[in-house]
């Protein structure tokens, strides 16, 4: 009975954690131990787009606004989120005016002003800097300080979604005083600043060891006197995902482990040790199959995989593409490789909720018979070896992806599913640094796509899908003419789609934008140029002792670490 009472009390305490968090004193909870299986290389997010680096620096540097775990925008260094309604966004959508919080100081004690924000924009927009967040500043004409606490960002075109610059951990504000001699080509010379930026966030760097470990101490000048609850923090890198999970869930050496893409049965067994729990949250990541619509035959030489090389011998037939999708049992893929970190999806744009289409949900159930019938009707007849063929063209697929044990499992499962409809599959896996690298001389990049099917995950930053849906317009088709730069891997080209994409860029109303995005998604899905498989969540683990932690799929996972308690 006594036990039960304690339990009830404990639950009650946990449910009103906000109150306890406010009462906790700064530094009272000791050390926060975080393990990332990729080590951070640098703490200047403008010079590295790697998630590990951005997350590590998000404990120190802050943007004007962050995304909350539910996907809503929340002011961090700004007073409020500017909108058209409150006058922060101009009516012609060509500028946004941010009001900054007053009384914020950098960790060295100096005042944070609008000049720092302007400087950060100029730093990233410098043509020789190679800034990784440059796309956040797309179409930005200028950034100006109206007074010490007001900043206006001017765009060269109307921006229905003006929250690119300074929203989210990828484009934070850096201190002008520290970085003023590090502009452009000089950026790499400032290792001291890049390894120990001065920030406004809850922690400051104590020691930085590149590609190994970072130790932080609480920022005594942080604006909330009770935060962070931890006096120090350690960010250890290296190793692999399974052992990172083990150090939180089984040995309890660490409090938080990031990105645990490990087979679900291994994670649930580790979780059973009772020291921590596995958490997942869903952003916009979708594991999908890209279908090659042009001919990847090596005999074509330079025309291989280009529109000029002609259509694909069998994947240009929509019946084949549809049959391939029908034959896949997505739930099995989720159960085998993802567990709680995956959901079946039939859309390439699965979230946020207002953009998610329901028109394609039929794909959630596998239908081998329908797939077989479709192929029979289309004239693809089974040969003596059980493989379908028409006019001497066999349904033999080369299916490539990056090296990763979960992906290889998915490949094997799909191969078997396709064998049931008379399709032969050859699997290939390529080192991720080659597959996702844009090396011109390599035939194995995902842009060149010298295969019939390829599989990977893509997503978009923040909550606005405009740029993401713009990936599949005709001009984005990779080809030798554009050095294979382009995101339209299937080489899909439709005038109607291009027109929708253009229209969306000029539409301000959220409802209209959502309708357009859904329509574009449905076009891609019903043409079967992409076959979505799994809506992937972020999956991390944290110790049971860690309180007030919620996995954030929209921003840096550590963006709200100042609220964490023990």
């Amino acid at each position: 009975m006594r036990k039960l009472k304690t339990l009830v009390l404990a639950t009650a305490a946990a449910s009103c954690f906000a109150a306890t968090a406010a009462q906790a004193e700064r530094g009272s909870a000791g050390q926060l131990n975080i393990v990332y299986w990729q080590a951070a290389s640098i703490l200047n997010p403008f010079l590295s787009g790697g998630t590990k680096d951005i997350d590590a620096s998000s404990l120190i540097l802050e943007p004007l606004a962050n995304y909350r775990p539910d996907g809503s925008m929340d002011p961090t260094l700004a007073e409020e989120i500017p909108t058209v309604e409150n006058g922060g966004v101009a009516a012609d959508l060509r500028s946004i005016t941010w009001k900054l919080k007053k009384g914020v100081t950098w960790s060295d004690g100096s005042a944070f002003t609008a000049n720092d924000v302007v400087f950060s924009a100029n730093y990233c927009m410098h043509p020789e800097g190679g800034c990784n967040a440059a796309s956040n500043f797309a179409d930005v004409e200028s950034v100006e300080a109206l007074d010490d606490h007001t900043v206006r960002v001017n765009f060269s075109v109307a921006k229905p979604f003006p929250y690119g610059p300074f929203v989210g951990a990828t484009s934070p504000v850096i201190q002008e005083a520290q970085f003023k001699d590090c502009m452009g080509a000089k950026a790499p010379e400032c290792s001291e600043a890049n390894f120990g930026p001065i920030g406004t966030g809850p922690f400051k760097v104590n020691e930085f060891r590149a590609n190994d470990v970072i130790t932080y101490t609480a920022n005594e000048n942080y604006r909330d006197p009770n935060q962070p609850a931890f006096a120090t923090a350690v960010f250890k890198g290296g190793g692999d995902a399974a052992s990172a999970a083990r150090s939180v869930l089984e040995t309890g050496e660490f409090d938080y482990a990031w990105n645990l893409q490990v087979e679900p049965e291994i994670l649930s067994q580790m979780e059973a040790a009772g020291k921590g729990k596995v958490v997942s949250a869903f952003g916009t990541s979708v594991e999908r199959l890209m279908v090659q619509l042009t001919n990847p035959d090596p005999a074509l030489g330079d025309l291989r995989g280009t529109v000029e090389g002609g259509p694909h011998p069998f994947l240009s037939d929509i019946n084949v593409r549809k049959a391939l999708s029908l034959a896949i049992d997505r739930q099995i893929l989720v159960d085998a490789g993802y567990g709680p970190a995956g959901q079946v999806t039939c859309n390439v744009l699965p979230a946020p909720a207002i953009y998610a289409s329901t028109a394609n949900d039929a794909c959630k159930t596998q239908d081998i018979d329908a797939a077989n019938k479709l192929l029979d009707d289309a004239g693809w007849a089974k040969g003596g070896d059980g493989i379908r063929a028409k006019d001497g063209v066999r349904l033999s697929i080369l299916y490539q992806t990056s090296t990763n044990s979960v992906r290889q499992g998915t490949q094997a499962l799909i191969k078997q599913m396709w064998s049931q409809i008379g399709v032969e599959t050859e699997l290939r896996n390529i080192d991720a640094a080659v597959f996702f690298g844009g090396d011109q001389s390599s035939p194995d990049t995902f842009q060149k796509f010298f295969a019939d099917i390829e599989m990977y995950t893509n997503n978009f930053d923040g909550t606005d899908p405009e740029a993401y849906m713009g990936n599949w317009v005709c001009s984005e088709i990779p080809s030798p003419a554009n050095q294979w730069i382009g995101n339209n891997m299937p080489r899909f080209c439709s005038e109607e789609y291009d027109a929708l994409s253009k229209e969306m860029a000029q539409t301000a109303s959220l409802e209209d934008r959502a309708a357009m995005a859904k329509k574009m998604n449905d076009m891609l899905m019903q043409e079967y140029v992409m076959i979505p498989l799994i809506h992937r969540g972020r999956v991390s683990a944290h110790s049971n002792k860690l309180g007030n932690v919620e996995l954030n799929p929209w921003d840096s996972e550590l963006a709200y670490a100042e609220e964490w308690t023990r």
Binding site: E263, I266, Q269, D335, Q408, A412, L413, L427, D431, P443
Partner: protein
Amino acid sequence: MTDQAVSTADTTKLGAQRTLWGDVWRQFVQHKGGVAGTIVFMTIVLVVVFGPFIHTVDPQFLDIRNKNLGPTFAHPMGTDNLGRDMFAQILAGGRITLAVGILAMGLSLVLGTLVGVVAGFFKKLDGILMRTTDLFLALPLLPLLLVIIMLFRDPLRQAFGPEMGIFMLIVFVIGITSWMNTARIVRGEVLALKEREFVLAARSIGTKSWTTIWRHIFPNVLSPVMVSATLGIANAIITESALSFLGLGFPSDFPTWGRLLFDGTSFMTVTPIRVVWPGVMISLVVLSINYIGDGVRDALDPRIRGR
């Protein structure tokens, strides 16, 4: 063991027709370890060659509802996390693993011994060959492999088909990147051997260089070469599994022992037995080769044979 060898040698009639290789063979079959090693090795070879005709489960068939099983009647070695039969995978993997292991080890051994003997024996070639060895030792393996895949995978795939092409590439890659240790070791031995009295004697009666190498030098460097062979086969099996991560190896649904061991390691706590099978098979092969090597070495050693 040695006593026994002596007694059998005594009973051999001196007058009977004797050849060198006949003697070696007679000595070898007296070597318990060598014979046991040969039997184990031949058994493994027979099982992986003929096993799939008896245990006819398709190694690539996924039975997702029967995943992570321990040994059962239908699956004598259990199943993996996608429900593939482990026994069938061990059998199928064994063929390819043994073929790759032995051929790659052979290539590296021949190359290494040749370079080592030539460099040690001919002073003029020593400098250039050993600096080449230094170069190969220093090459960064992974980027080199990426370059090799980029340049040769597609041409070989077209010329020999996907499986044969990759097989040849793997054997070549492992062979070409692992001969240096053997070469250095053999050269060190040859440097000392060629100053020994029996080599000087052979030279002074005008024996040709290559004859000297073949008859006097080579038999005396055999024992480190045998050790290299045993270590080499283990090395080749493990290297093959590393290659498949770069996409240079066989396709991911093509089991090999090295891969099975690596994949099984992640599931060590879920299905412990799964990682044991490939580990045991690799160890058995390496151990049996080691004992065969011991037997061959003893059989070729005239000081033991003659006693």
